[in-house]
Point group: C2
Chain length 124, copies 2
């Protein structure tokens, strides 16, 4: 492949502004890499959940590939519940109900999603 001169992107995740996740509790999301960096296919986000934090059981329209960076949480995927900590990876297919309950805060994980329309729907 002919090498091209293209801009790479290097940044510290702490410098990326976070926003509160409305559907969650004590949960912020930092959009680390995505379309605004020129990335054509998928986006990497960093979720941070504080004491007592989490997300209720919900579905997304897109799949998640996740890597746990620090802390500990109970994560429900479909009918199974897992306790996860640093170094664990999770794959959550589109439309599969899932939830998060923080055990040791802060619970931080990367979540990669395709560049596609998403919607969070809470599942009772």
């Amino acid at each position: 492949m002919t090498p091209v001169d293209g801009p790479g992107v290097v940044k510290r995740s702490e410098e990326v502004e976070g926003r509160l996740v409305e559907a969650g509790t004590a949960t912020t999301m930092r959009p680390l890499l995505g379309e605004s960096d020129g990335a054509p296919n998928f986006a990497m986000r960093l979720f941070s959940m504080g004491e007592g934090g989490g997300m209720p059981r919900h579905t997304n329209r897109v799949e998640h590939e996740q890597y746990v960076i620090r802390g500990r949480a109970r994560v429900g995927i479909g009918d199974e519940v897992h306790e996860v900590s640093a170094g664990q990876v999770l794959y959550i297919p589109a439309a599969v109900p899932h939830f998060y309950e923080v055990v040791d805060a802060p619970f931080e994980f990367l979540c990669v999603v395709p560049n596609a329309e998403d919607r969070i729907e809470i599942v009772e």
Copy 2:
């Protein structure tokens, strides 16, 4: 979206078998999540580089979204060189020459790529 029963995947990254990266030095790659887990769009891999390790200047046919987990390295992207450590994220567009030189080992980073044909070409 109608919730579906689908298998999620949860595993420890240390339990995923690594393989030596032939084009690199003291570099192993663990395929954490990808098509074999049912993931349709992209794959998450964990690279670990030991003392004196790295990858020579090369191109790929696919873009990279990366997150540094531990250690320190000099990373060249195009004409720029960055020293990176834990918490830093990198976007390397397809076809842009890049290299890695370990400064503090082990240097570990996640690298997410689309599910598409790739080829490593070394660039002088």
